[in-house]
């Protein structure tokens, strides 16, 4: 059995989510190879070769893969993946974009966002916003899977010494083109990798008030997240949304400020180790999952918290 893990990366750096996906591959068991599809991505291939448990890295360095366009990358993965029993990618927006296209090219079902490996063909995954957990079994010759990072610990980034092999397959399908990108810049940790997350909701009232949460986050070394309502209202950008249809986080500490606790929001954070809720409505559903609830006006509580840290 050999498993192909698709590397998540920016062409210059390996994405942390790849490490969780390698752990999922280890849980399945077998030889683990990593495919790096990128452009000018030699450094990523080198980093992937050092991941503990990886025995080979395939480096497909081609201008057509620079922006991870699925029309170009999916045929590559489907071609390279033919020799494997499993193809795994992180359930990032990139993995979600590409992997179903790979699965359909291979004429197999895809299994989305697994959180546990029961055996080489049986996996657990949340459905209905995490209100149910399905155990699914696949008899596909090649199992195409995306992995939810919060379900698996990160594999050690150092310790391996895999060989890097060049892959020359790949071309531009000529039907899509990259135009532009607006990436959020932040010195804070990545939302899905942070040990502490401070999130704000509609109760924050506007974008300026998020500065209060930023200051707390900086004191705690935390990332800042948001509810859908805060994103929809334009307080903060879309990449901060935590929830069923946003990012899934499971930090050591999650502080929800002015968030009511709709099931779609809970789906994205209820596996956090410790949950704190600050809300002025004592009946807010968020308190049903909070380890520590503080019924207070956030405009009093947050400055006080900042001073206390």
């Amino acid at each position: 059995m050999a498993i192909l893990v698709i590397a998540e990366h920016t062409n210059v750096a390996l994405g942390a989510a790849t490490l969780n996906t390698v752990s999922a591959a280890k849980a399945i068991g077998g030889d683990i190879h990593v495919l790096v599809a990128g452009a000018g991505s030699a450094a990523v291939a080198e980093a992937a070769a050092k991941i503990d448990g990886v025995s080979k890295v395939l480096s497909a360095d081609n201008a057509a893969f620079a922006h991870q366009l699925p029309e170009n990358v999916a045929p590559l993965i489907a071609e390279v993946g033919k020799g494997y029993t499993h193809i795994l990618a992180s359930a990032t927006t990139n993995g979600k974009n590409i992997m179903p296209r790979v699965a359909a090219l291979l004429d197999v079902d895809q299994i989305s966002e697994i959180i546990a490996v029961e055996s080489a063909d049986t996996f657990k995954r949340p459905i209905y916003a995490g209100n149910a957990i399905a155990t699914v079994q696949s008899n596909a010759a090649i199992k195409v899977i995306t992995v939810r990072g919060t379900g698996f610990d990160a594999a050690a980034a150092e310790g391996g010494s895999a060989a890097v092999e060049a892959v020359t397959v790949g071309s531009d399908a000529g039907i899509s083109a990259f135009v532009s990108e607006e990436l959020a810049k932040s010195d804070r940790p990545e939302l899905t990798a942070a040990k502490i997350v401070v999130s704000g909701g509609r109760g924050m009232q506007n974008g300026e008030n998020f500065a209060m949460l930023n200051r707390i986050a900086d004191k705690l070394g935390a990332a800042v997240g948001a509810s859908r309502a805060a994103v929809d209202a334009g307080f903060v950008p879309n990449d901060m949304q935590v929830g069923q249809t946003g990012k899934i986080v499971a930090p050591e500490l999650y502080i929800a400020v002015g968030i009511s606790g709709a099931i779609q929001h809970l789906a994205g954070m209820k596996d956090s180790k410790v949950i704190v809720a600050i809300n002025k409505d004592e009946d807010a559903p968020i308190f049903q999952v909070a380890d520590y609830g503080l019924v207070a006006d956030l405009f009093d509580a947050i400055p006080e918290l900042e001073a206390a840290l």
Binding site: I133, Q137, V231, N238, T245, L253
Partner: protein, 249 residues
């Protein structure tokens, strides 16, 4: 240009589903069903393209039980011109759904195909991308902006790091994200008018598509529950607990 929108009948997003006692699935008896919210956004976008004079016809398609006519009628009331129901009582996986949609695409030849990014029941997030593979069309997933320009469509996508814009050759596939638009409500006169709009019912067999799957669900369980903790009285108490009890700061 013709726009095809795929809409799925799902449990309403306000319902907190419960797992059945025999662990075979979730209990959907007497539960409110609605159009998948992301599909509503797809219908809205297609209608706006028609209002702008870019789309000439909006066709909606659903794969599901006879009752999915309700969601198709809703789409017609919102402004779609015509509906197709591929009727089946089987719970299909995304690949089977995609094969049926591909057969409909072959018949209808739309220039733009809109789907939701994710069905809120299966939480699969697969169908649009799979349809891209089977049609060979380009895909713009998780769209927060769609602009048709000549023989291309520019799609701004919500990605983990922020936003990305891609230009796709038409015909193309777009899957909707939450910020693409705010769907309208159907007015009573339009609901009445929708009853007379064409709704064709066909079967997977008539499309010559096998809906077999490589995946089976062995069981469905309730997630580990989290019990409510304590209420603290002050910020000082909160900080003390986080430091000394939870030891997380």
């Amino acid at each position: 240009m013709k726009v095809l929108v795929a809409v799925k009948r799902v449990v309403d997003y306000n319902v907190k589903v419960r797992v059945k006692a025999d662990n075979t699935g979730v209990d959907l008896a007497n539960v409110k069903m609605s159009m998948n919210p992301f599909c509503e956004i797809g219908v809205e976008e297609a209608i706006r393209l028609k209002e702008k004079g870019i789309a000439t016809e909006v066709v909606v398609v659903s794969i599901g039980p006879n009752a999915a006519q309700e969601q198709l009628r809703t789409a017609l009331a919102l402004g779609a011109d015509r509906a197709i129901l591929v009727e089946t009582n089987d719970e299909l996986r995304s690949l089977a759904v995609t094969k049926l949609l591909k057969a409909v695409v072959d018949q209808e030849q739309p220039q733009l195909i809109m789907l939701g990014k994710q069905a809120i029941d299966s939480d699969n997030n697969q169908t649009g991308q799979m349809l891209g593979a089977l049609t060979g069309y380009a895909q713009g997933t998780f769209a927060s902006k769609v602009e048709v320009a000549g023989d291309k469509v520019n799609v701004t996508r919500e990605i983990d790091g922020g936003l990305q814009t891609v230009a796709l050759n038409l015909p193309a596939i777009v899957t909707t994200d939450l910020r693409l638009n705010e769907p309208r409500y159907a007015s009573l006169p339009n609901i009445m008018k929708a009853k007379k709009k064409p709704l064709e019912i066909i079967t997977p067999d008539s499309l010559g598509v096998s809906t077999a799957s490589t995946v089976t669900t062995l069981k469905v369980e309730a997630p580990a529950t989290r019990s409510a903790g304590i209420k603290v009285k002050s910020v000082a108490e909160l900080v003390e607990k986080l430091k000394n009890e939870a030891k997380v700061i």
